[in-house]
């Protein structure tokens, strides 16, 4: 778990950024082998200072054209519950910890994150349980997320319109 990528998508989620850059979280991350923490903070007002120590690097940015590169180089992704963030991380085959924003409990985007957790594809916690989750989590227990099957849709459509 050398590199950890934290993403809040286009939203702001200061509580997550605060929790994950707290001394307690940093200590747990380092104890689990993390040497690089990359924070994508979106519209958030909290902007932690970057660090460039020999043993620990913290990078901070707001937005990028594409986060594919950051996802690819991460060994753990910590994300808000946004559907786009969750799906793209799982498609990259990366272990994902979804952190729920409890101020947005009735947000429909939570539906997908909850279901993915129920099916064992992602870990799930809130900001106050982040540190203990980082300490106790077992990433090897996560189930891989199989790709969808658009060919089934094509077969269905062929039948609908009468193509053989």
């Amino acid at each position: 778990m050398k590199s950890v990528f934290v993403t809040v998508g286009t939203t702001s989620f200061d509580e997550l950024i605060a929790a994950v850059s707290s001394p307690a979280a940093e200590q747990v991350l380092r104890s689990r082998g993390c040497r690089q923490l990359v924070l994508q903070i979106g519209r958030g007002s909290l902007q932690p200072a970057p660090q460039h120590g020999p043993a620990f690097v913290r990078e901070v940015f707001r937005f990028k054209e594409s986060l594919a590169e950051d996802l690819r180089s991460a060994e753990l992704v910590i994300s808000h519950a946004g559907a786009g963030s969750c799906l793209e991380t799982l498609e990259e085959g990366k272990p994902l910890l979804v952190v729920i924003n409890e101020k947005l409990m009735d947000n429909h985007q939570l539906e997908l994150a909850r279901q993915l957790h129920k099916d064992g594809h992602v870990l799930y916690c809130n900001c106050s349980t982040l540190v203990e989750t980082l300490q106790s989590m077992d990433l090897s227990a996560l189930k891989p997320f199989p790709p969808g099957q658009p060919e089934k849709f094509a077969l269905f459509l062929d039948k609908v319109v009468g193509f053989e």
């Binding site: 286009t10 519209r43 946004g82 947005l104 969808g148 658009p150 459509l157 062929d158």
Partner: protein
Amino acid sequence: MQPVSPPPGSTGTFLLLLLLLPPLLLVPWALVARRRRGRRTPPLSLLVVAGSVHFIFAGGHTTEILRLLSCLSESYSPRCYILADSDKMSEAKIRSFEQKRAERFSNSQFTLDRIPRSREVRQSWTSSVLTTAYSILYSLPLTYKLKPDLVEESQILREQHHNQILCNGPGTCVPVCISALLLGLLGMKRAIIVYVESICRVETLSLSGKILYYFSDYFIVQWPALKEKYPKSVYLGRIV
């Protein structure tokens, strides 16, 4: 703090009902028209209604719908894409998808059109009714011009924006669908309407989904819980 989007005002609801009433009354007619539909022979023109997302991720609606199209055979041609005029991200994705497709199939054709979005993020319900009516009027000549055999739509995925909770809304697909339906009822062209609800919808439908559940010929959901709640829907597993 997160302000909650305002509940539909009673005037807004009334106007919305008024707007939806004519198509609602025409539904039995549409059902009869559906029975008369026979087999189709290739090629078959396909109208694709794409939406926009505020994701910086490549995820979201347009990616979802292009994934669905990726497995369709060359018989589905031309593909006519309709985007909201405020959608800045989808066009590049569609063009790159079509370019790859042209390398595979020599006879590959597509068109790309834009319509005003019926409801913008954070727009009030009352004014949404007016803009929806405007988009329907705008969509009518376009759907007439394109005369698709098949309309395929998917939910428009909205993101939280500027710290406010947004709800899903009928952006581009509801006006296009309703105008396609009207053309069918006028006897000009009866298109098959296929709606695909977004993978993000596990237990509840989007507002577009709730409306188009009644107007589509085939309504596809991607989670079993929705299939149970909406018996008319089709569940094929996860297809994106």
